[in-house]
């Protein structure tokens, strides 16, 4: 097997807040293979965005700081190559799409210019040539009469169109890895589907890898090859997508799946079953499993010792003591 394109090992990110040091990402390991789509799911605040920003060195600092870990991209450790080398990688080999298309584009610059910028900085293209290619790419992401809209400003576009512009901007240099942080969360359901299929089509054409961050398990089911479930800064379960949906192991994953509306959609709008309790504040250092307080199956050991990742299947592992004591699992779900 060829080495992964991206290999994050034991990443740890701290935020220095007035309440103390908050560990937003606590020893995350994650690999993305060439051409693969990896889904990263979890509740709000579990550290998905911070993990993805850390890859490109975009954590606001202060207050944030990457305190441990390695991120290998091909054979370079992104945490050690220095700010200039990292900058040359951004937008060229690794690109990113963000959640809020409303605020992620600069309101005072024309969209054509914003899409052309990566070419100007990474390929040294003169502005006119870059604009020409930007127009082509905007056509590829299906912006109607793209050439006439090069001088439009973001506020003249709908949310879906803006996200298409974001996609064009991220893809124009042909990156090897696309990190998409909730690319469809802010959009209407119908637009969501269009944007997702556009992204998947472009990905297939270019043989790019993708790290897709979302809290929508439906999106993951449609697009990802493998899924990682995060809870309170840790990856608690990782599995190929079908395995995860068919045999979720970690009680947290099971809870997430139960809270998900059926894909058929007739119970959308019905109140979702939420996992009771809240995430422990990341300023606290906990002994034992971080999910223990909310876990329906927790027993003594869960509160005393931290579970290590344990294999359930080939490619499927979870961080849970139930692996050793399967009989303790209660009857529910």
């Amino acid at each position: 097997m060829s080495p992964p394109l991206l290999d994050i090992q034991d990443l740890q990110v701290d935020f220095h807040t007035p309440e103390g040091i908050a560990r937003a990402v606590d020893g995350v390991s994650l690999a993305v293979l060439k051409g693969e789509t990896v889904g990263l799911v979890g509740e709000s605040g579990c550290g998905k965005s911070v993990t993805s920003l850390a890859i490109l060195g975009l954590i606001p600092s202060p207050p944030g700081k990457i305190s441990a870990g390695r991120t290998l991209f091909e054979d370079r450790n992104l945490l050690a190559i220095g700010p200039q080398a990292l900058r040359r990688l951004r937008g060229k080999e690794i690109s990113m799409i963000f959640q809020e298309p409303m605020t992620s584009l600069n309101p005072v610059l024309p969209i054509g210019r914003q899409v052309a910028e990566p070419l100007m900085v990474h390929r040294n293209l003169p502005r006119s040539a870059a604009m020409e290619q930007a127009a082509d790419y905007l056509e590829r992401v299906k912006i109607p009469s793209a050439r006439k809209r090069l001088n439009d400003y973001p506020h003249q576009l709908s949310g879906g169109m803006r996200q298409r512009v974001m996609i064009a901007m991220a893809m124009i240099c042909g990156p090897k890895l696309l990190i998409a942080d909730e690319p469809t969360t802010a959009l209407d359901v119908t637009i969501q589907a269009q944007i997702l299929s556009l992204m998947m089509a472009l990905k297939e054409e270019s043989r790019m890898s993708m790290l897709l961050i979302t809290h929508d398990l439906g999106v993951v089911a449609q697009t990802a090859d493998r899924v990682l479930v995060m809870y309170a800064g840790e990856v608690v379960e990782a599995a190929p997508v079908t395995d995860l949906f068919d045999h979720p192991f970690h009680p947290y994953t099971q809870g997430l799946l139960r809270s998900m509306p059926r894909l058929g959609g007739h119970d959308r709008g019905r109140r979702l079953k939420e996992i009771p309790g809240t995430v422990p504040p990341s300023t606290e250092t906990l002994v034992g499993c971080k999910f223990a307080d909310r876990c329906p199956d927790a027993f003594d050991r869960c509160r005393k010792e931290k579970p290590e990742p344990a294999g359930i299947d080939r490619d499927h592992w979870a961080r849970c003591w139930l692996f050793e004591f399967p009989k303790k699992r209660g009857v529910h779900g």
Partner: protein, 314 residues
């Protein structure tokens, strides 16, 4: 763009009209009879009455107002009671001092404040930022006249580089006139730079937290491009408003600084005119000052449409 422009023009005209009515009515109800002042306290009632009707002072408020307005528009203008010359001419000659000072002061303010504000924002809470903030604190606390006097003491008295005051006139001595306005403009500029620096800094800090700045960095742009192309344009929008207010205010003349440097500017003109109850001068100069503020703001509004594309739709 066109509807925005027309809308702004109409607003400008209405504002000017409103300002003129306000200025006129305030001075209309003010005690003090211009005819009495012109003729002195020993004047006979008949000569007073004659002069009043000659000046139109016996007519109604609106009649007088429209007469005044007509005079302004036909550029005849009113006459100063004191200098015995048209107020227009007075204003123009004084503006030749105040205008260049105001512009030069703003040039100083901008070239000091923008680099310092940006620099401080990029080094938030580090020593460079703290020193910049300390300097601005100083600039906010020091009164203009005191800074003006300090500059005279140092550059004029000690080093002898400048005259200690006075103004030779542009037609007489261009270089000397320029030197005469340099120190006062600098004093005015430094004080205004303090506010602008703080504003630029806080505006930059706010913009640097925006999502689109993260996007710009995620594209791999150089930090220079991120700061000057992506952040600064957005950060300037609120700063521009204050610059406009400052310029308008400076065009209205700086009474204290003009007195410290013995400069024949608009501030001194209106200051003396009030003392001498030279009402036509006070009225027209105050109208001019208010109009300057309104017009500068109009220009700023147009500048907005240029740097902020969202403005045109509103």
């Amino acid at each position: 763009m066109i509807p925005y422009f027309i809308k702004k023009c109409i607003t400008l005209l209405l504002l000017l009209l409103l300002v003129s009515i306000t200025v006129f009515s305030v001075l209309f109800v003010l005690p003090g009879d211009p005819a009495q002042i012109m003729l002195g306290i020993n004047a006979t009632p008949e000569s007073l009455a004659n002069l009043r009707s000659e000046l139109g002072l016996d007519q109604s408020f609106w009649a007088q107002y429209f007469q005044w307005l007509a005079q302004l528009v036909t550029s005849q203008g009113s006459r100063s009671l004191n200098y015995d010359m048209p107020v227009n001419t007075l204003i123009v000659s004084r503006l030749a001092v105040t205008g260049p000072i105001a512009l030069l002061a703003m040039v100083f303010a901008v070239i000091i404040s923008l680099p310092m504000g940006i620099y401080a924002a990029c080094r938030q809470n580090r020593p460079a930022d703290v020193s910049v903030m300390f300097f601005t604190q100083f600039g906010l606390a020091v009164p203009e006249f005191w800074l003006g006097i300090l500059l005279i003491l140092f550059f004029s008295v000690k080093l002898g580089w400048f005259a200690a005051g006075g103004f030779p006139g542009w037609t007489v001595d261009v270089w000397g006139s320029f030197k005469a306005i340099l120190l006062p403009a600098f004093a005015l500029g430094v004080i205004r730079a303090s506010i602008l620096t703080r504003l630029t800094r806080s505006s930059m800090l706010e913009v640097l937290r925006e999502d689109y700045i993260r996007t710009a960095r995620a594209k791999g742009l150089m930090e220079r491009t991120v700061i000057y192309t992506h952040a600064l344009r957005n950060a300037l929008i609120p700063v521009l408003t204050i610059m406009g207010l400052q310029l308008g205010q400076l065009l209205a003349g700086a009474i204290i600084i003009e007195n410290v440097y013995y400069l024949p500017g608009l501030g001194r003109l209106v200051f003396n005119a009030i003392g001498q109850r030279d009402l036509p001068v006070v009225r027209d100069v105050v109208l001019f000052m208010a109009a300057a503020v309104v017009v500068v703001n109009f220009i700023i509004d147009l500048a907005y449409a240029y740097i902020d594309p969202r403005v045109k739709l509103k």
